[in-house]
């Protein structure tokens, strides 16, 4: 009795068919092209200046070296970048943006989704169209306008994180409104009607019925509005001049354009900025993907 003993190659040869081969090859191609840049970002951030500036690229760092991070965070480093300050600035802008945008959008979306009033559709379509407006179009008049207002009221337009939050609201509210309106529409009206009959006020209904049912949507809208502010580049570039006020994207741009190139430091800063976002998506993928198709990440 002789059973044919197949080795690994033999099994593979049996398993493989043309469709499977094409599937596997395309999948490998996609995964490598997607992941390699991220691997390169993280691995470059752990290299020394000698490794990063050598004749040939170092594909696998010899050890995890924190030279680049030292430059970002250690005050004793000769080219200390005060990156901690930039992280705090970014948080100072993105957290209030997310909170204000979500609160305003809750009321606005509820009105659009539930209440009858004249001009509702025009309003919603108008807000959606506005979302297709070029950012560069608005920055010139906003800059001129806010400079005027600032002059009268006595605040600076430049290097003012409050002003930046204000302009970010214009970019986040339309999308927050759109996503929440869509979600509120999926909540059965009967539940709210029952609460209204029981003598709840409209605001009471929003607080006790609608919001508790919308927690997944609220989480995902908060994350998206947070992300828009976290990533924003153009407005921060125009409105911030003082290094102490820079948000992360502007700081990274500055380090990159430094006369002495230090790619490992740029990559370390980029890694710090990217990791939280990527982790959020890995953890909450199911809740977040829907928001992406609704335009949660503009662009």
């Amino acid at each position: 009795m002789s059973t044919e003993r197949k080795n690994f190659i033999g099994h593979l040869a049996d398993w493989i068919t043309w469709p499977r081969f094409i599937f596997a090859a395309t999948m490998i191609f996609f995964l490598t092209s997607i992941l390699f840049p991220f691997y390169w970002m993280v691995s470059s951030s752990f290299k020394t200046r000698a490794e990063i500036g050598g004749r040939e690229p170092v594909y696998i760092p010899s050890a995890i070296r924190l030279d680049a991070y030292d430059e970002l965070f250690n005050p004793d480093n000769p080219s200390y970048q005060k990156f901690g300050l930039n992280i705090i600035n970014t948080l100072k802008v993105s957290i209030p943006t997310a909170i204000i945008a979500v609160i305003l959008a809750i009321f606005g979306s509820y009105a659009i989704a539930r209440l009858r009033f004249k001009g509702k559709n025009a309003l919603l379509n108008g807000i959606l169209l506005v979302y297709l407006f070029p950012g560069v179009l608005l920055i010139i008049p906003l800059f001129a306008m806010l400079a005027q207002i600032g002059d009268r009221l006595g605040f600076d337009v430049q290097d003012n994180l409050g002003v930046l939050i204000f302009t970010y609201l214009a970019q986040t509210i339309p999308v927050a409104l759109y996503m929440l309106t869509n979600y509120f529409r999926t909540i059965p009206d009967e539940i709210e009607q029952a609460a209204l009959i029981d003598g709840c006020s409209r605001l009471g209904v929003i607080w006790r019925v609608t919001l508790p049912l919308s927690i997944p949507a609220l989480v995902s809208v908060s994350i998206y509005t947070f992300m828009i502010a976290w990533n924003e580049f153009l407005y921060a570039l125009v409105f911030l001049n003082d290094h102490a006020m820079f948000t992360m994207p502007i700081k990274i741009n500055t380090i990159f354009n430094d006369p002495s190139p230090r790619p490992h430091v740029v990559m370390a800063a980029s890694t710090i900025m990217t990791i939280p976002i990527v982790l959020l998506f890995l953890a909450l993928e199911r809740y977040l993907t829907e928001g992406l198709t609704a335009g949660g990440v503009k662009g």
Partner: protein, 312 residues
């Protein structure tokens, strides 16, 4: 107040409308004050001579008619001159159409990959979203670092090892190649958006259509062409218009990758350069208005086709 108007004022319908407006007014105020008013104001700026010198007194800026527009149209950076120098207008159109088409093609392939069940599909789908959700600054700089002109650049190293090039190349500083690479990076970054939209539609296709086609003896290619593509036609059109508009408006990607040099200067970058490098806000606003007019054509298509269809 007469009895009739009082009744109307107190009717439940009127109370509902009042509540709606009070709920929505903060949002409406912000949208109006920060988007609609500035957009209209931008038209005004484009007809006036506004620079850094009179920014604090902008409402008294001198009226210059169409001078800003004629300056833009005659600028070497804007108009098409020859095959070597496309100018921002033509570059913008080529760049947006090419990136959009490539993005959709890649997105379609990715969605077909993820549409069939396999182990680890959820994780793979999350990984496929990385390029889209990662901050643009990080993504742009890592690509710049991969395409680094020194011999230590990864692409240079790989291509030299393979013997495809003899000397290191400055990829993003070569006319033509720079634009092609920027388009390629756009597709790399934005395909997940197309992928998700297509995937949602794919999963809604009625399976009996395929079974019926199989009974009729259709092969894989026929099934793809006559069922899959036919069912996707509408969503592909919607993605095309949406991405076209967003790509047309995009500033960060090209600014970070090439700074608008080497034949990659698009209208948003030109707007930025006029406004915040030359501080000629009037000319910048005129460029932005030209940009908006082109986008408005796409918008009209979008409203007429996509939004109307949604309402039905």
């Amino acid at each position: 107040m007469s009895l009739l108007t009082k009744q109307r004022w107190n009717s439940s319908r009127a109370r509902e409308a009042r509540l709606a407006w009070s709920l929505i007014s903060p949002t409406a105020l912000i949208v109006f004050g920060l988007i609609i008013f500035p957009a209209i104001f931008s038209i005004w700026v484009s007809f006036h001579d506004v620079g850094l010198h009179n920014l604090n007194d902008v409402f008294h800026a001198p009226f210059v008619g169409f001078e800003n527009y004629s300056k833009v149209f005659n600028d070497f950076a804007f108009k098409f001159q020859d095959v070597q120098n496309w100018g921002a207008a033509v570059t913008s159109v080529v760049y947006s159409f090419a990136s959009t088409i490539l993005t959709i093609a890649v997105g379609l392939i990715a969605s077909l990959l993820l549409n069939r069940p396999f182990r680890g599909r959820g994780l793979t789908r999350a990984i496929f979203l990385f390029p889209y959700v990662a901050p643009i600054v990080s993504v742009a700089f890592v690509w710049k670092w991969i395409l680094d002109p020194r011999p230590s650049g990864v692409l240079n190293d790989i291509l030299m090892r393979l013997g495809l090039i003899d000397a290191p190349q400055a990829y993003l500083a070569t006319r033509g190649l720079a634009l092609a690479l920027v388009i390629f990076i756009q597709a790399w970054r934005y395909f997940p958006f197309a992928m998700l939209m297509i995937l949602a539609r794919l999963q809604a296709i009625d399976n009996t259509l395929y079974e019926a086609a199989e009974v009729d003896g259709a092969n894989t290619i026929q099934k793809f062409k006559h069922i899959t593509l036919a069912e996707l036609r509408y969503v592909l059109g919607a993605i095309f218009l949406l991405r076209l508009m967003w790509t047309f408006n995009k500033f960060d990607d090209i600014y970070l990758l090439t700074g608008g040099g080497f034949g990659t200067r698009v209208l948003p970058v030109l707007t930025y350069q006029f406004s915040f490098q030359m501080f000629d806000f009037g000319r910048g606003a005129a460029t932005a208005m030209i940009l908006l007019m082109i986008v408005a054509v796409f918008m009209a298509f979008y409203v007429a086709i996509v939004m109307k269809k949604v309402e039905e």
